[in-house]
């Protein structure tokens, strides 16, 4: 009797683990970009040039990018680096900075907007302010 109970318990446990695995496979948590290592590390100017070339731009799609440059515009939690990299920050701006400050950020590259000639990054977080 006792061994049967243990077997049932083990089977129940195995079933629960299986259900958790299936659930996590079917409904995975979104990637946390701020905790992921950067796939590319390059300046805002270099990123803008690379993304304007569609052959080169493909490699950056959906990748985690570490980039840096001077802030050319601030609008809510959207900042522009070097006039051409538009960064959607994850969190509202808690830190004080202004136009002209040098800044480093990490975010996900969503592509090149050829209507406005801008590279767009989202889910970004601030790495450093100089």
């Amino acid at each position: 009797m006792k061994s049967r109970k243990i077997l049932l318990l083990a089977m129940g446990l195995a079933l629960m683990i299986l259900m958790v695995i299936v659930y996590q496979t079917m409904f995975p948590e979104p990637r946390n970009i701020s905790e992921l290592p950067a796939d590319f590390n390059l300046s805002a100017e270099k990123l803008a040039l690379e993304m304007a070339d569609s052959d080169k731009a493909v490699q950056y799609g959906d990748k985690v990018i570490h980039t840096y440059g001077k802030i050319s515009a601030i609008e809510g939690n959207v900042i522009t680096l070097g006039g051409a990299i538009v960064v959607h920050l994850l969190d509202p701006l808690g830190k004080v900075f202004q136009k002209g400050d040098s800044i480093a950020i990490k975010g996900r590259c969503i592509g090149y907007d050829d209507l406005l000639g801008e590279v767009k990054l989202d889910q970004a977080s601030i790495i450093q302010i100089k």
Partner: protein, 194 residues
Amino acid sequence: MDSLGNIVRKICLNGLLLGLLSIGSSHAQQRYIDRNGVVVFEASEKLFEPVKAKNESVSVIFDATDNKMASLALMRGFHFQNGLMQEHFNENYVESDLYPKALFKGEILDFDIDGADRTSQPYTIKGVLEIHGVSKEIESTVQIQKIGNILAIQGSFTVIPGEFNIKIPKIVENKIAKTVLVKLDFKLTGDHEE
């Protein structure tokens, strides 16, 4: 050097596009821009998990001198609640690496910027929508209101994935609606003082 040539050509093309949009507006400065336009699409079927995504970084340019409008949504900018669904959307359905953007170019018919005010009015918007490398003419009614320097455009239209050569696999066919409802919410700011 070839790639540099490509870049120069693209910059020239962009300049030409922006130039075309701003022709005739130099004296009046009637260009309106939204960098954070919102587009939501929904293709949910009852009883199944919602198929819904939101893009909050859509670009929109409108020139009030000729009522021409252009809008661009990067496909990777669409966020789904389910990460796996987002992955399938980008990799299998719209093939975001090959076709990274949805582009609309058209005009708002019979619109007069001077007649627009706080009262929301219906207007017809007509143009060509390009998704997944396929262009199709669309026409829809949008609500427009003007508050100071801000032009607010809201509306919705439907698209059929098959018409844009987007193939939905048989196995998930029942879980995704045949027609996709697209809602837009733009707030364009004029590049001039009122």
